[in-house]
């Protein structure tokens, strides 16, 4: 379908595929993925039944608790960034989305639902309902701000993820995360399929940039066995946010650390784990590949670069999912490392080199699910002349709308959804700070900010924290 769009004084025709709408005015899943005409109710119910047993042991308790104990008080809605950003549309409230699954749960898996039907909110889903749910679960970034607000500690974000798991099990997951994400990651070492030579070229380029800009020689060790620190980055940073990697390289050299990066020759070098967003099975496949790769290199520490969900996966989930004897290394974030080095006096910084007002965006995966709130703040206060808080912040910060892989999902006009809902709230938050730079430590957030700044005409730029620290280094 073609649509006309005004660009300045001219008008151009942009080709935008418009798939049939099944939930709202957008589509996240392609027709090939969603397979609208294919009956899927029976398979869905069968899989849902499986995930309500001990087979789904990691999340069974919070999943069933949230399905059963919600009182429909609606508190979660007022905490939800997409709901607020959409102008408070009912279909985007967390409890509405969870209820789409809860109705099915009650009808097919509870006695009260079987006996009393709609009186207790039970409903037998139609094929249309299943298709709508498949799309609805891709309107939530699982930022879990709603879980912070729920008086009972129930987690609508978790419900969204559980519903995604059911769909993934019957073959419905965004190809950006599944085929082009996890499968590419496991086959080629990184989701964007960066070959060894490509990675080496990028690192060589970064080396030259640092030498040219700062006049210092740096090393970019790759695949070094037994180094103290193995730094793993989001592969997207090597391609789209090279300043972040450049900053990390410069800092590691500045403190003369015993460190290394790794390449596809050792296995997976992309620190992302898209399985976290939609499938326990794929999540663990990627996690095992990470562990196998890390063990080959035998570092003392794995350092997670600027990638939020990777920190959640490696620093937290891995402790529960991989036995200690199989992971003889520690996991630390680059922020913790830099924060420590600043406090130890190993990094000499000049705030005057970053004179512009800077604010910090707490990524959901670094903050609410990661616990890294203060480190980046201490770092930015040490590296920037004018640090300003965004409000609300820390555990109450709003999701930017790039989380859960949304930042790399552009099909149909999903981009517009990201900008007009989550993006609207975040743009307003950013404007209110008066900052010229929004610093963040997550590649998904950066990708969202790249678009957001343009879309909402914000007079600011985004930057990685490592980039700002490197810029402030005193030689």
């Amino acid at each position: 379908m073609a649509k006309r769009e005004s660009v300045g004084k001219t008008e151009k025709v942009i080709e935008v595929p418009k798939w049939e709408r099944v939930f709202d005015d957008f589509r996240a899943l392609s027709d090939e993925t969603l397979r609208l005409e294919e009956p899927k109710k029976e398979k869905f119910l069968e899989t849902m039944s499986k995930f309500l047993t001990k087979q789904n042991w990691p999340f069974l308790l919070p999943y069933k608790l949230t399905l059963e104990a919600c009182t429909h008080c609606g508190t979660c809605a007022e905490a939800c960034s997409v709901y607020i950003g959409s102008g408070k549309k009912k279909i985007y409230s967390p409890v509405y989305r969870s209820d789409m699954l809860r109705k099915i749960y009650k009808k097919h898996f509870t006695l009260s639902g079987k006996l009393f039907g709609s009186l207790v909110g039970a409903k037998d889903p139609s094929e249309e309902d299943i298709n709508a749910l498949a799309e609805a679960v891709w309107r939530c970034t699982i930022c879990r701000r709603c879980a912070m607000a729920c008086p009972f500690g129930l987690d609508n974000g978790l419900i969204t993820r559980e519903a995604r798991k059911i769909f993934a099990d019957i073959g419905i997951a965004p190809d950006e995360l599944k085929d082009k994400g996890v499968e590419n990651h496991l086959k080629f070492g990184s989701a964007p399929k960066i070959p060894y030579e490509g990675l080496m070229n990028i690192l060589e380029f970064l080396k030259e940039e640092i030498e040219e800009e700062k006049g210092v020689e740096v090393e970019t060790p790759v695949d070094k066995k037994g180094a103290k620190y193995l730094v793993m980055n989001n592969a997207g940073d090597y391609l789209a946010f090279t300043e972040t990697v450049q900053g990390i390289v410069e800092i590691m050299n500045y403190v003369n650390a015993d460190w290394t990066l790794n390449s596809p020759n050792t296995g997976v070098f992309d620190v992302v784990n898209y399985g976290l967003f939609y499938s326990d099975e794929d999540f663990v496949r990627v996690m095992k590949a990470h562990v196998e790769t890390i063990n080959k290199l035998e570092p003392e520490y794995v350092v997670v670069g600027e990638c939020g969900h990777a920190y959640d996966a490696l620093a937290h989930f891995m402790k529960d999912l991989i036995p200690p004897e199989e992971r003889p290394f520690k996991v630390i974030s680059f922020m913790e490392l830099v924060d420590g080095w600043i406090r130890e006096g190993k990094l000499k910084l000049d705030k005057e080199k970053n004179p512009e007002p800077v604010t910090f965006h707490d990524s959901c995966k670094w903050g609410r699910t990661g616990g890294i709130y203060e480190e980046p703040r201490r770092i930015l206060k040490a590296a920037c002349k004018d640090f300003r808080e965004m409000h609300p912040n820390r555990e109450w910060n709003h999701c930017c709308g790039g989380g859960s892989g949304f930042a790399i999902m552009h099909k149909d006009d999903f981009f517009k959804f990201r900008m007009e809902t989550y993006g609207r709230v975040k743009a307003e938050q950013l404007r209110q700070t008066g900052a010229k730079i929004v610093a963040t430590i997550c590649a998904n957030c950066k990708a969202q900010f790249r678009e957001l700044v343009e879309y909402w005409k914000l007079d600011m730029r985004y930057a990685g924290v490592s980039e700002l620290v490197a810029n402030a280094l005193v030689y």
């Binding site: 990691p58 999340f59 069974l60 308790l61 104990a69 429909h72 009260s112 989930f317 616990g371």
Partner: protein, 230 residues
């Protein structure tokens, strides 16, 4: 006939009510206790010890920080509703231990009115949020409607002096000491205690799932994750 009905509602049904209430409540609690939870996906700031978790759960139950942060209306209504209801129930329970004292009349009335405002507020809110948040089910309304009728009757019985406190006290004590005496036979009183018992039997199936959820849900949210020293 009225006497037999009163005897059933006042002296037989309470034991059925208590049995249903406790059996279902304990079942609902144990169901979550025995369910494995080997993986932690809590939210930060997480707590580092069981004591801290319990302390924070306690604080959260009484201060409701989530609703206070994002939705003041429900925060105020929840306060009125729960405190009003708890005080009303405690004053009822007190009949077992001691006779009434003068201030109780006013305290009970205030508590009843607070609970009634909270209940009506919740009903209005449910109707309101159906427009832009979520639809409530009949089951959601049922408990509130049952409660508002019970509360209204209770308030009328109290303010109107329909039933003598001493008679009622003797009846409650009789039930609890297994020495039943004939309950007051005023029809409104019988309806009041019948509805209250239906409400109590209904609670553990639906409404009381949420206080149980607070213990498990909030614990999940607050549980310690693997935190490195920093």
């Amino acid at each position: 006939m009225v006497g037999e009905l009163a005897w059933f509602i006042g002296n037989i049904l309470p034991y059925v009510t208590l049995a249903v209430f406790f059996i279902v409540l304990v079942y609902n609690f144990l169901k979550w206790v025995v369910m494995p939870r080997p993986l932690v996906w809590s939210l930060f700031p997480a707590k580092r010890s069981t004591f801290d978790i319990l302390l924070t759960i306690g604080k959260r139950i009484f201060t409701l920080p989530g609703p206070r942060k994002v939705d003041k209306t429900i925060w105020v209504l929840a306060w009125l509703f729960h405190i009003g209801l708890i005080v009303s129930l405690l004053l009822h329970a007190k009949y077992v231990l001691m006779p009434t004292f003068p201030a109780e009349y006013y305290l009970g009335s205030i508590a009843g009115v607070a609970a009634a405002i909270g209940t009506v507020g919740f009903i209005i809110r449910r109707i309101d949020i159906a427009k832009d948040k979520v639809d409530s089910t009949f089951a959601d309304y049922f408990a509130l409607i049952l409660l508002i009728v019970t509360l209204s009757l209770g308030a009328y019985l109290r303010l109107g002096g329909v039933v003598e406190h001493e008679t009622m006290w003797a009846w409650v004590q009789g039930v609890l000491t297994l020495n039943p005496v004939q309950p007051p036979e005023h029809p409104l009183f019988l309806i009041h205690i019948l509805l209250a018992q239906i409400y109590m039997m209904y609670l553990p199936f639906k409404t009381l799932v949420h206080p149980i959820a607070i213990l498990f849900g909030q614990k999940i949210i607050l549980d310690e994750r693997h935190i490195y020293p920093r």
